[in-house]
Symmetry: C2
Subunit: 289 residues, 2 copies
């Protein structure tokens, strides 16, 4: 048996036409959906991420504005820029690309973006709604994309054991809340760097989502047969045999493919789903504006 | 072996003197710590809860005001009352007693209370900070009380398996976030009414917290030896042999006492801890005012 592939690239592509229609409908009402991306500094990985988001905006028909500021910007100045776009009725979504320079307080920045323009869903008001079991706010993109992939399997999650490796505010924590919520109804275990007996927890899991960014951390033999594996990790490891000099690998060993029932590829799994959900959040913010 | 008792009544009492001192120090700065409790309708259980909170305020030296409104109050009118106290600099904490009449939107009410006066910690801004791993906000009282009880055992929670039965926005969800947070570091499983194989999950748990309100749901034989059992449930069951006509029972069977290492009594475990943490939150809001 070989696992079925949860092909994020093609699933994301299927969602594009629906978004294009929604953006066109907004245009008929003279609303030009507009996303502002703020990039601090010139980190090359961040530049690629931002570029990919802008390319996707273009495909969907979303106007995007890149605001690239110097990495010695002050907290106040960055907040002032956010405020400017908060006040601008022609801007529907604002995101500040991570990571930020150390001297910038990222939590304060997340709080500064108006909840209704918070396309990343990182404002505590949006995150807090998840704790309340309320999905009416803006939900972070990666957890949303993962839920979409899980739904694509057609497997009911009700009562299933779901394990989330990683407890970040961006993926692990909000995803755990979503999975445990009424209507999804998985039995969720949150595992992290201090956890003990991770191997056994994984082998008990009908759904395993790894978001720790440690290459090949999850061994093939830890996987439960026929389980669903979602690999959020994406790391580079050196490979002198490759022209690029590196390989892109996930958190989960390749051998898992022979044991799992469903698995996401890396790259091409969670990554494209995150971007398409960012587009969906932007269109939603525009519709609600 | 018999479990050691986590005596919430006496642990809560130990905390009183510290709070009394803090309230007195505030008085020296002419700040009279003041809690406003809004009670909608005349539910007899709610009246008792509110009364107990007011008695505790008196013991600590906190001024309390009870605002009892009719149960046919409109959403707008209730929000208007909250706004009035939000704007009143002499009020440091506001709580609206649950349950509310069905036609009142409780989530909107929780959002209406200013985060810095939100002594229950139910405003999404305060809940969202927990998702961010930030404990600088106001944390709901029952989860705070439970963490305090767990600390009292002196057992490190790092890497331990902790299971939370129940996924409410008041107890289960915020408590799960707190337990999984950096510095507490438990491996947390969230179990609820749709979960399957609950018995086995319980028997794997070093820490078991039940907050479902189903009398004797957790059987003694499910308990792991020497584990810590926190019983949040408090239910009445008929007992014609009693003068009152009923018994107060928790979610966990009494036989657990012979297997667990630590256990909370019902009543006298989590209940008094919840009230003292409400006092602590009120004093904190007053200090931060």
């Amino acid at each position: 048996m070989v696992a079925l592939i949860l092909d994020g690239t093609s699933i994301a592509r299927e969602l594009e036409s629906g978004l294009i229609t929604r953006v066109e409908n907004l245009k008929k009402k003279s609303i030009i959906t507009h996303l502002v991306v703020i990039l601090v500094g010139d980190d090359s990985a961040s530049e690629i991420y931002v570029k990919n988001k802008q390319i996707m905006c273009q495909r969907i028909g979303i106007r995007s504005t890149l605001v690239n500021v110097d990495d010695d910007i002050s907290q106040d100045e960055l907040e002032r820029i956010i405020d400017e776009y908060n006040d601008d009725d022609e801007v529907h979504g604002i995101l500040v690309q991570s990571p930020l320079p150390e001297k910038i307080d990222g939590l304060k920045i997340a709080s500064k973006i108006l909840p209704r323009k918070d396309v990343d869903g990182f404002n505590p008001i949006n995150l807090g709604r998840l704790v309340q079991g309320d999905i009416g706010g803006i939900i972070p993109c990666t957890p949303l994309g993962i839920i979409h992939l899980l739904e694509k399997t057609g497997v009911s999650l009700e009562g299933k054991r779901a394990t989330v490796l990683g407890r970040s505010r961006i993926v692990g924590m909000p995803l755990s809340l979503l999975l445990a919520m009424k209507g999804v109804d998985a039995t969720v275990t949150i595992v992290h760097s201090r956890s003990v007996g991770i191997e056994r927890i994984c082998s008990d899991s009908d759904i395993l989502i790894s978001a720790i960014g440690v290459p090949n951390f999850v061994k093939g033999e830890w996987i439960k047969e026929d389980s669903i594996i979602i690999d959020v990790g994406i790391s580079r490891i050196e490979d002198s045999g490759k022209k690029s000099g590196y390989n892109i690998v996930g958190d989960v060993e390749k051998t898992a493919n022979k044991i799992a029932g469903w698995i996401t590829p890396v790259p091409g799994g969670v990554g494209p789903m995150t971007i398409i959900k960012l587009m969906e959040n932007t269109v939603r913010c525009s519709e609600l504006s």
